[in-house]
């Protein structure tokens, strides 16, 4: 810091006082000069002495006024110092603390403190999410590793019957598959973050994507005796990647199928929502998702209740990422009272619009 703000403010106030006194002296001098022209009986020197006396009181009061300037500069800077101290304290590790705005008057300073607090909230949230991510990721990757290691070591710890070795190997392979799936899902998410994915987009009919995905899931629904209703209409053009869109729907249907009891129902529908958007709906008759979990389910490792045993909690994060890569969004419909209803909104690419992507 070259010159502290407080000192600069003080200098400006003092300069203002000096200018004021000088200005006053100049006015008095002019007045006295004119009086001398009209009454030349007295000397110019006497008249100018009167002007000096006129500002004399000002000069006497000057030390007091400078003191007042010092006090004002302190008073103005105090809130900035308070805010800086509080922010420093937060930066040095007290991430839960905030700048207290309770006894600040409703002015610019308070607004500044509120803005800084909002920035800290955002930052704290991001750090928390990262912490949660590394915790969850280590859990999802280490759990199968732990099982593999224990199964292998216990199997090798003594002579065993061949059948036991076979069982151990099958168990280890099961864990390998589980881990590969999590790894693939994490890689998929990392790739979706990059924008190059859009370079492979072409114009396509979402109705066809819906039908292809439905055909893949029909046998599973039959086996579980779940009624699978599919509805779509023609002319639902999107600009996208077919495999990714199938993966998106498959993740939603996979979830739906897992939470829907035998004899339940799953509903897949694609429709025109407005002249700009397509709405894809996946609904099930499972236990549904509590509104307070709605935010969490699309996050990385955000588990949907009832799917914990089978999934790592990445499926819906992938759904959201694919929808986003296509310029759309995925959300959970909270109005529903029975089962869970997921909506994916995708931008419609009809007629002339797609030329801008050519």
């Amino acid at each position: 810091m070259k010159t502290p703000l407080r000192l600069r403010l003080f200098f400006w106030l003092v300069a203002l006082l000096v200018i004021f006194v000088t200005f006053q002296f100049a006015i008095f001098s002019i007045i006295e000069f004119r009086a001398w022209i009209h009454h030349p009986g007295e000397t110019l020197r006497d008249h100018l002495m009167e002007a000096v006396q006129g500002v004399g009181w000002d000069l006497a009061a000057l030390p007091f006024l400078i003191g007042v300037a010092w006090w004002i500069s302190m008073k103005m800077i105090r809130p900035i110092q308070t805010i800086t101290l509080a922010a420093d304290n937060i930066c040095s590790g007290h991430f839960e603390d905030r700048i207290s705005t309770g006894n600040m008057p409703d002015d610019e300073m308070r607004r500044m403190a509120t803005t800084i607090n909002a920035a800290f909230d955002y930052y704290h949230d991001a750090v928390e999410r990262l912490r949660r991510f590394s915790g969850d990721a280590s859990h999802q990757l280490r759990t199968p590793l732990a099982a593999m290691q224990s199964v292998g070591e216990v199997a090798l710890s003594r002579e065993r019957h061949p059948e036991e070795y076979r069982q151990a190997m099958a168990n280890m392979l099961e864990e390998v598959r589980r881990m590969s799936r999590v790894t693939e899902q994490l890689l998929r998410l990392a790739r979706l973050e990059r924008t190059e994915v859009q370079s492979s987009f072409v114009r396509m009919d979402i109705g066809k994507v819906v039908c292809r995905t439905a055909a893949i899931f029909q046998p599973l629904c039959d086996e579980k005796r779940v009624v699978f209703r599919v509805e779509t209409e023609s002319g639902l053009q999107v600009f996208g990647h077919e495999d990714l869109l199938i993966e998106m729907l498959a993740n939603l249907l996979d979830n739906a199928l897992r939470v829907t009891p035998n004899g339940g129902e799953i509903f897949l529908k694609a429709e025109l929502e407005s002249n700009r958007e397509i709405l894809v709906t996946v609904a099930d008759t499972g236990p549904g998702i509590a509104p307070e979990l709605a935010e969490r389910v699309f996050e990385l490792f955000g588990q949907v209740p009832g799917t914990r045993q089978t999934g790592a909690g990445l499926g819906l994060a992938i759904v959201a990422a694919i929808a986003k890569a296509h310029g759309g969004r995925a959300e959970l419909n909270l109005q529903q009272t029975r089962g869970a209803v997921f909506h994916v909104h995708l931008p419609l690419r009809a007629g002339v619009l797609d030329r801008s992507f050519g």
Binding site: R131, S134, G135, S138, H139, Q140, L141, R142, T143, L145, A146, A147, M148, Q149, S150, V151, G152, E153, V154, L156, S157, R158, N171, E174, E175, R308, Q309
Partner: protein, 226 residues
Amino acid sequence: MHVMVVEDDETMAATLAKGIMEDGYKVTSCGTAADALRIVDDEPPDLVLLDIGLPDRSGMEVLQAIRSRKCLTPVIILTARDAIRDRVKGLDAGADDYLIKPFAFAELLARIRARLRHPEVPESNILRVDDLMIDALNRRVMRGSHEMSLTGQEFELLRYLVINVGKTVSRDMIARDVWHIESRATPLDNVIDVHISHLRAKVDRGFDKELIRTVWGIGFVLKGDE
């Protein structure tokens, strides 16, 4: 000795139960917090292995419930979360030990033994296995009447194997207890293998009986006569 395993991952639970049972303990295993608390009430175990992430309630709550029953049973937490914050939380809640997945099974068994061990007579400075004798105080090693010279690290490694005589130790355990390096991300396996082979050349070469043996896929064991 009765060990209770609280673990919701089926493969893991079955393997833990099998491995611990084969080491000579009675094992009860369960996958939910509710079952765990019932077992604690009906058939109090001598030691609890507790996985932190259970489906119905957090393992931490089980731990608190066990402790609130004024029960002093040793509890070893098994978890994949190794953030300092999680560890502190676990130990604060009354856990006795904390093992991070994945772990070497030999290490788990060693920790169980350590928790169940009764106070013993202080260890002597002279350790013997078969015709091998090591003097920890003067750092001398004899095999039969032949005295051998070991480097400092070789001596520490041999002493560790002798202390754990008859028990398999993994490379992770050696890294932690002999080299004092906790992080598994540190590549020490080759270093350990080289020291083991040097140690073998000095301790076993030229003798009829091999004391240091490799346990394939697990680690090493030093064994005298059965």
